[in-house]
């Protein structure tokens, strides 16, 4: 019978923010905290902007066509986190999402830009999805 551990919180003993996990191949390990996705958001950018679902998400702001600011509940430790994602197309066009200017990327929020990959026009897709990996504060 498989063993079952019921627990609400995991904390490292040697270092509170560091727990090692055995990898799939049994030959290496990985780090639990470093491997967790720290933020994700799925939102509708067409019309009145609204969030479908999210994790560690505080607020969303419609800055302008194609520009959206996402704010985190728990901040990152620095701006050196990775945030990437995808979008649905707009009409017959295909859009993508990326970070905007570096000065718009902060530990507690980031501005994202959605554009057509066909003609570079600003787009407001009805489904934009991003996730972020990095170190929490």
């Amino acid at each position: 019978m498989a063993s079952q551990l019921k627990v609400n919180t995991l904390t490292g003993v040697t270092t509170a923010g560091s727990i090692v996990v055995t990898g799939e191949g049994n030959s290496t390990t990985t780090n639990l905290q470093q491997g967790l996705c720290k933020y994700w958001c799925d939102w509708d950018q067409s019309g009145t902007i609204s969030v479908y679902d999210s994790f560690n998400h505080a607020s969303i702001t419609d800055d302008a066509t194609s520009l959206t600011t996402l704010s985190f509940t728990s901040d990152f430790a620095s701006t050196n986190y990775v945030i990437s994602g995808a979008t649905t197309g707009v009409g017959y066009d295909t859009a993508n999402v990326g970070t905007d200017a570096r000065n718009e990327k902060l530990a507690g929020q980031v501005q994202m830009r959605t554009k057509s990959i066909i003609d570079n026009n600003a787009e407001n897709p009805d489904d934009v999805m991003v996730h972020a990996h990095g170190d929490l504060a």
Partner: protein
């Protein structure tokens, strides 16, 4: 509220398999759900890693082309790699694609929104898949 203080998690039945109850009624795999490597680096001038997880080094292979070396190798080359660049060189969005997948490294090339190769001031990559 219970708190488990522990340095390492190892599956009981199989060392490499720990199940976690999901937000609803289903379960998921702890190991399969973890991001196995990520990197955020500067790709202009002298390239440099700003922050990373399970990454050994990065190599500049010429304009817009970089090789990222993974510390603990993946179990196979069929992992999921995502790549994102910031706005560089006056372009608003930059994109990346994979040139080479290997268990211990991957090579990427960045281009701007006019399909011109470009050294990006900031590039992020995430790797999901099976560790060796």
């Amino acid at each position: 509220m219970s708190t488990l203080n522990v340095d390492a998690l190892v599956g009981n039945t199989s060392a490499n398999a720990i199940t976690v109850r999901g937000e609803g009624s289903a379960t998921t795999s702890l190991q399969q759900g973890l991001c196995k490597a990520w990197i955020y680096f500067r790709g202009t001038g002298t390239i440099a890693i700003s922050d990373s997880h399970n990454i050994t080094s990065i190599t500049d292979n010429g304009t817009a082309t970089y090789t990222v070396t993974i510390a603990n190798d993946m179990g196979n080359a069929t992992y999921a790699l995502s790549i994102v660049g910031d706005n560089s060189g006056g372009r608003q969005n930059t994109y990346g694609f994979a040139l080479v997948y290997a268990v211990g490294s991957f090579q990427i090339r960045m281009h701007d929104d006019e399909s011109t190769v470009i050294d990006t001031t900031a590039t992020g990559c995430t790797v999901h898949g099976d560790l060796a």
